[in-house]
Every structure is written in C-alpha cells, then in structure tokens.
Symmetry: C2
Subunit: 253 residues, 2 copies
C-alpha cells in the first residue's frame, strides 16, 4: 500500500518514544512539587516513587533526553524541571481555545492546571447566542460565528473540543481550516483530520468501562472477601457459550 502516510509526525530527528513523552508530564509534576519544597536533588528511586512508575523506566526515559543526572548523587531538581519543560515545549506560551461551554467546557475554563503549565485560555467559544458575552472563569464567551477570526487573531494552534458529539466533527473541521494543528477532544466521537494534525481524546465513560472490566474480573475470581452485600445478580456464563441462541439486546439508550 505504499505507505500513504507517515504514522508518526516525522519521528526522525530525536526519536523519543511516545510512551516516554506521555510520562514526561508526570515527572514534571512530581519535580515541581519537590521544587516547591526546595528539595535540591532527587534520586531516580525517589522520583519514580513520587511519579508512580519504577525507577528503571524513569532512568531509561531520561536517557532519551540526555544525561542530566550525576552518578552517585541523583538529579538536580531545578535543572531537570527546566530540561523537561523545554522538551515538552512548555517554556513557551500556548494560547488555546475551548469550544463548547457547557458543564465540561466551563470546568475546563476554570481548571487551574492549564495556566500553571504555560497554557493560556485565549478564548471560549459556544454556539448558543444566549451565552455570548457571558463571562465564564472571567473570560467572555464568544459566538461560533467568529471562530476563524478568533483563532487567527490569537495565533491559536491548540483547540479543545467540549461540544456534544454531533457538533464535534464540524467544529474540528473549522478549527483545522483556521490553522489549529492540535486538538484535545472530549466529545465521544472519532474525529477525522488531515495529516499533520494531532488529536488526543479523553473519553470519561471509556475510563469507567475499563474499570468495570477489571472490577467484574475481581468479583468473578476471588470469592467475595469482606464485602457483605453484593448488589445486582451477575449473569455469569463466563465459559464459552453457545453459538447463537437468544441474543438479549441489552443496551440502554
């Protein structure tokens, strides 16, 4: 099929594994906490514990960035904070827009974790004309009509979609057309985007479903130890079941 696309955004120069990139923010958070407590140095063992990973993994991760530690001593906290911040691109200011100011969008607008990491909420956008002008988290909501202008005026390259699923693709298309190249999608839908645009999604109900899977497994394997009243009779036919037979259409709307 001749590889019509590059799977990863041009991973040639400095190939930091995706799995490592995904953990850098974790390390950064732990380091920031240490920095606030004025801890000067930290060992891979300590930092790993604070970040919730094991130390071999952490050292391997850091080895992709360079040799920033001192053997026999550990890592200089401030130096490492800077190096990771730089690697993640957090030493610059990232204006973001949030589209869809419902409950979730408002929560995101109020979320302190953005500002403290170099992300600045440049604008809030909603399709409801009644919202226009209303301030949320101190920022006046603007109407979708002006989306393109807002993106361009603010030089926004990162967009957050918190609209209902039905509107997400359309919003996405407009964001991309206006110049946005990274999208964080909270709508429970798969977005299709042109090459070169990154999408990450957060689906709250997916996380719960994964938990339910493991929870079910626990209940099935260990004989209920300690729990007094188990609710809900489990329809357990975990062994192989017949080819067909009756197929209960179990799906709440």
């Amino acid at each position: 099929m001749a590889t019509g696309r590059t799977h990863r955004p041009a991973t040639r120069s400095r190939g930091i594994p995706e799995a490592t990139v995904a953990r850098l923010p974790l390390y950064l958070r732990a380091l920031t906490a240490l920095s606030e407590r004025s801890v000067p140095t930290v060992s891979s063992e300590e930092l790993a514990a604070a970040a919730g990973v094991n130390s071999a993994k952490l050292r391997k991760d850091f080895s992709y960035l360079g040799s920033y530690g001192t053997r026999g001593v550990g890592y200089d906290v401030e130096y490492l904070v800077y190096q990771i911040s730089r690697e993640l691109g957090l030493t610059q200011d990232w204006p973001v827009v949030i589209v869809g100011i419902g409950n979730l969008g408002a929560a995101l607008a109020n979320y302190g974790g953005f500002a403290s990491r170099g992300f600045r909420v440049a604008a809030l956008i909603d399709a409801d004309p009644a919202m226009a002008g209303k301030p949320v988290a101190g920022i006046p909501v603007q109407h979708t009509d002006d989306l393109e202008k807002i993106i361009k005026d603010n030089g926004v390259s990162i967009g957050v979609i918190a609209t209902p699923a039905g509107a997400a693709q359309q919003v996405c298309d407009r964001l991309v057309a206006a110049g946005v190249t990274s999208i964080l999608n909270f709508a429970p839908t798969v977005l299709s985007v042109p090459d070169g645009v990154d999408v990450r999604k957060v689906d709250l109900s997916i996380e719960l479903q994964i938990l339910a899977f493991h929870e079910q497994r626990k209940a099935g394997e260990e004989t209920a130890a300690g729990d007094a009243a188990l609710p809900a009779a489990t329809r357990d036919d975990s062994a192989d079941q017949g080819p067909d037979g009756d197929v209960p259409a179990v799906m709440p709307a």
Copy 2:
C-alpha cells in the same frame, strides 16, 4: 518477601491484553451507533474505520474474545454489542459515587455518557457543608462525613475523585476503607492504594502537554512544503488518536 504473583497462572484462557480492553469501549461505541441505525452486520474493515483503528488490530482484538464473526460476511452488530458489553461487565448496573462537586464534579454528574453505559450516579459527595442538600444534576449533594455509610448502603465499588489534589489521597483512603475497589482519579496527584485496588487517572493538563510536545516539534521541523496544510481531507485513519499507552497506575512495589 512481597508477592511475586504478578503473573497469573499463565493461561491463554482469559488473558485479554490491556491494550485490547482499552479499545473495547471504542468498538462498543461504534457498534451502538450502527445498532441505532439498524445496520444488521458490519465487516472488520467498516467497523475499524468507524472506531478509528485498523482492521487487523480489530480482528486480533476480537479473536481474544472468541469467534463472533462469520467468514465471508462480517459481524452481527447486535450480537457483538452484547458480547462486548458482557465482556466489559456492562450488563450489570454499576453504582458510582462522585466525590468533589466543584466545576468538574458537576460536569461529571451531568455527563450523559455514564448513564447510557450502565453506570449510575448513586451519590454526590462534597466536603463543603454549604453544598449539602443542594441538588446537582437532580441529585442532592451529601456531606463527606457520611461517605462510608453512603458507600455501604449503595454497594458502591467504583468511586470517582474530582477533589482538589490536596484532598485526593485522604478521600481515596476512605473510599478504599469503605469497600471501593476501583477509582477514577481526576485530581492531579498520584494515589497510593493497596493491592487489588485499580486506579485510572485522567489528567487534563497532561494531555495538553503531550499535544504541546508534538506541536513544538512540528514548528521546529517546518519544511518548505508547509502550504499543504489545508484540510485537503486526507481521509485516513492514521491519526494517533487517543491516550492509549496509559500508565495503569498501580502502586507499591
């Protein structure tokens, strides 16, 4: 010495890879949409496109569940919906509590995606006495003092933490002590939990940081061929959509 039982009885029987489990909700969502449009069958190719993965992966994933398709034909949509729901444990009712009813907690309480997948918000809990009794999403907020009783009375095994970071570990400890064995954590902190308790985390600012990393890289590599960046609709499913490579936040070692 500690438990060495990290690997189970090494069977191939019920060992569904984590990566596969994490995609089942995705398939389920796509299948539900097909079901609503009364589509009777679907091929791996079509379903994969709808879910945003490639078809080989999807077939491999399904092969861990069993042989639910028909060669030459495809998959029966209703049947597959049922099988995946059952595998995920969604054929039973999961009462959940949400602790921390700030902006985010309220958004979660209002989020429709929970109820539609077998999750029932059994209670909302907050530490602020002024919130007590106030209804959010139609459910009266209860005070933290009653946490243990609420958990037990409702047979809750899944808890959602949406408190500030500072309160999260304490809330977590109480949830676990009261019998909760799965936790979805929105607070930007690493929770430590005893063996047997699952934690999944969602950190909004981490997702943005990962995007920033790639965004920075794009800007740095900007080649002269940059004008192809218009949405010429490269209809691929390539996009690295999704925070799959997640850290299964388990703790002590």
